[in-house]
């Protein structure tokens, strides 16, 4: 921000909230059971996933209902990797008469390569879809519809090529990054690895959204046509942000699969895609904090509450979403930020009025 000595130099409230969440998450393993830590680790992966959607939807205004496709691609890369360690052909392939690891899976044997591909491939895929969608005149809603269809088709596809993906049953026994048969990371270590990566992703997104590129993306959301007349090719920026978002979604998938030791088609379809949209909507979009908060809160609530209200959980989610849309459209965190913003602006307006009473008076008189 500009160096100007006024109330603006103060950070928005949500940044304090970020720090609190970080403190909470860092301390978390010290006072809970290991399986809760593992659970929270999984939710942090979801939080990264939510951040990736926030970049696309919150900042750029492009609502994807198929974001889990990119997430799933990352997860499946690492998942496949642990099925074919040491050149063993997994049982589900043998069952279909495959005796050798297919050539296109060979690079995935190394989990590190698989992780990198798990980020690159979703990014490339997003770029490709982005190219098709954003260089034409397709409007916002159409993008949403296409991604929705994509989610459905991709799930069908993964189930169909069961020879290579174990279809509906998904992939299991995904290790927490043991390379060349080394001992996998312990649950708590892995938790911290995920947390550190999440923090890095968060900082990266914070930088990105405050950079010129990020501001351009925000202007796409605000008024895409106007941006064109300022000399920008909005489509290129949309492809860019979709690609970055895809890479981050892929990364979250790569981290997620070892955190649960499994990845299945439930993680990639329409339902999974809409869940992440709901987290971001409830938490608040366009400020990163909301995405993280929403992902952690809703998943945590689901885990705790489902012990009591399991059959009504979907109903609760539906109702919650309606409440958010009609009463706190900015989401929980977004509402807090907006409130703070309003208070500051009011003060500023009052101050300006006090400073220039004469010119104001003149305007009224004339």
């Amino acid at each position: 921000m500009r160096k100007k000595k006024n109330i603006f130099s103060k950070l928005p409230l949500n940044r304090y909230f970020d720090i609190l969440m970080l403190i909470f998450l860092t301390a978390f393993p010290f006072f809970t059971k290991e399986f809760r830590v593992e659970m929270m680790g999984r939710y942090i992966c979801y939080a990264i996933f939510a951040i990736s959607l926030d970049l696309l939807w919150g900042y750029t205004g492009l609502l994807s209902l198929g974001h889990a496709v990119l997430f799933g691609m990352g997860g499946y890369m690492i998942g496949i990797s642990y099925q074919i360690q040491n050149g063993v052909v997994p049982a589900f392939m043998q069952r279909e008469g495959i005796t050798e690891i297919p050539w296109f899976y060979l690079p995935l044997q190394n989990p590190i390569v698989a992780s990198i591909l798990g980020i690159l491939i979703p990014a490339l895929f997003a770029a490709l879809i982005g190219y098709f969608v954003f260089t034409s005149k397709i409007k916002g809603v159409f993008f949403t519809i296409i991604t929705l269809a994509l989610a459905q088709i991709f799930k069908d596809f993964i189930i169909n090529v069961q020879k290579y993906t174990n279809g509906f049953n998904g992939l299991q026994s995904i290790k927490r990054f043991s390379v060349n048969g080394s001992t996998p990371l312990t649950k708590t270590t892995y938790y911290y690895v995920v947390l550190v990566i999440a923090v890095l992703v968060f900082i990266f997104c914070l930088w990105l959204t405050n950079s010129r590129v990020g501001k351009i993306c925000t202007s796409v959301r605000e008024n895409e046509a106007r941006l064109g007349f300022l000399g920008y090719n909005a489509g290129a920026f949309k492809i860019l942000i979709y690609t970055i978002s895809g890479a981050l979604a892929g990364l979250s998938g790569v981290l997620y699969a070892p955190a649960t030791s499994t990845i299945t088609t439930e993680d990639i379809g329409v339902t999974a895609s809409t869940m992440v949209v709901i987290w971001v909507a409830v938490g608040g979009r366009g400020n990163l904090t909301g995405a993280v908060f929403g992902a952690l809160l809703i998943n945590w609530a689901q885990s705790i509450l489902s012990e009591h209200f399991s059959s009504a959980w979907q109903l609760i989610i539906g109702a919650l979403l309606l409440v958010v849309i009609y009463f706190i459209p900015n989401g929980v965190i977004g509402q807090i930020v907006a409130l703070q913003r309003r208070i500051i602006t009011d003060r500023k307006k009052n101050k300006l009025m006090e400073e220039t009473p004469k010119s104001k008076k003149m305007a009224v008189v004339k």
Binding site: L13, F35, R42, A91, G167, F168, N169, S310, S311
Partner: protein
């Protein structure tokens, strides 16, 4: 200004600590009750999501069985306390919930999981924590985990008697269909081998995506193939459309559908007129005319009036609970999982379907094979095996090499289960 910020931070800290307190309370409440006079058992079935409905009847069966056991005095004087967790039809949640049951609630065993995907998702936890899952669903086999007891039948128990009978009594040209995923494909692979072994001919094989509703194309292909019988492993609601389209597009029960994957709940949805005359095979049908079966069905129906019906899954889940009871009675210390698993070998139970037995070696269960013709929305049982059939997780017709080693690879073979 700084003061204000400080206040806000304090407030937020307070909020967080409230959240924490709530969490630790939730954690503490259930783990504190691990005293000596109850035996805790996990029940892991979905209450929400796509398979919730099917799993509801399984949850009910657990409730019914454990309440019966407790009324009859429990196990060596100890009552069973069952803790139900919902995995929302999502395998990843199943992983989380099995961890909760094992690590926090410290259950001695869990009865649960419906889809293969959810069962497989729990395997690594079961292995890491050396815990036990009793799995009641009929399954595709080709997997045996040392931490799972498979009470649901293996495909061979539905097919080995059914297929020769079909070839002899119905027709030799068979068309295989199924939903597009692991269970139907594996079952059909075995069916194909059996058909060829008994001198039949497979004239076509088709798979429809899960939840598919337009079967006109597949029915046309069946018609063009000249099939005399259709062998079906279609799952769930697809069956409704399939049986309807089958008749709508001019096929009749003269070319019957022989299904290994429909039960009473599907029959209700398909409708009497469309299911009439077709065949189906399962270890248990609620129409079974024995004292034990009739009592079981009427008791279930009197207890639960929630739209669910008794199916093979209900029965198998009920059996699972009783097999667990028998195993628990055999061991000194119920928390010794290894001993408990070993205790299952050879255990028998006089189930509604007849006497069943857990195999001494391969963790699967000897169950009956029953098939019949659908008439007026129920199955008229035409054939029942004399006694329970041997389970073959790796069916001998496809894997003769395992026939001498309990129909499975050795326990340390990576093919045995995903590890």
């Amino acid at each position: 200004m700084k003061n204000g910020t400080f206040k806000k931070i304090t407030a937020a800290f307070a909020a967080v600590s409230v959240m924490l307190a709530a969490t630790s309370c939730g954690g503490g409440a259930s783990s504190s009750s691990s005293d000596g006079d109850v035996i805790k058992v996990g029940v892991l079935f979905s209450e929400s999501g796509s398979t919730a409905l099917v799993e509801k009847t399984m949850t009910n069966a657990c409730k019914m069985a454990f309440d019966e056991i407790n009324e009859a005095g429990g196990i060596k004087g100890k009552k069973i306390k069952y803790i139900h967790e919902d995995y929302a039809s999502d395998p990843a949640t199943a992983t989380e919930k099995i961890k909760k049951l094992v690590e926090q609630d410290e259950v001695v065993a869990t009865v649960g999981c419906y889809t293969s995907a959810s069962r497989q998702a729990t395997l690594s936890t079961l292995k890491d924590d050396n815990a036990l899952l009793i799995y009641p669903t009929y399954t595709e086999g080709e997997e045996v985990s040392p931490n799972v007891i498979y009470v649901g039948n293996m495909p061979n128990q539905q097919a080995t008697d059914f297929i020769p009978w079909i070839l002899k009594n119905v027709g030799k040209k068979v068309f295989l269909i199924g939903s597009d995923y692991v269970f139907p494909k594996t079952c059909n692979k075995q069916a194909r081998a059996l058909i060829e072994m008994y001198g039949g001919e497979v004239v076509g094989e088709e798979y429809a995506p899960l939840g598919h509703t337009d079967f006109s194309t597949i029915v046309n292909k069946i018609k063009d193939s000249g099939a005399e019988v259709v062998y079906s492993a279609l799952i769930g609601d697809s069956n409704t459309s399939f049986y309807k389209d089958y008749q709508q597009y001019g096929m009749t029960a003269d070319t019957p559908i022989c299904s290994i994957s429909i039960d009473e709940s599907n029959l209700q949805a398909i409708g009497k007129e469309f299911a009439e005359g077709h065949y189906a095979s399962m270890p248990y049908w609620s129409s079974l005319d024995t004292e034990a079966s009739k009592n079981f069905v009427s008791k279930y129906n009197s207890l639960f009036n929630d739209g669910t019906v008794v199916t093979v899954l209900t029965e198998a889940t009920y059996d699972s609970c009783y097999l667990l009871k028998a195993a628990l009675e055999k061991v000194e210390d119920p928390t010794d999982t290894t001993a408990l698993i070993n205790a299952f070998g050879g255990i028998t139970f006089d189930a509604p379907q007849g006497e069943i037995k857990v195999d001494e070696n391969n963790h699967c269960t000897w169950v009956y094979s029953r098939f019949g013709q659908i008439h007026d929305g129920a199955v008229d049982i035409l054939y029942t095996t004399d006694k329970a059939l041997r389970p073959e997780p790796w069916p001998s017709v496809l894997y003769p090499e395992y026939a001498d080693s309990n129909f499975m690879p050795s326990w340390d073979d990576p093919l045995c289960y995903p590890q």
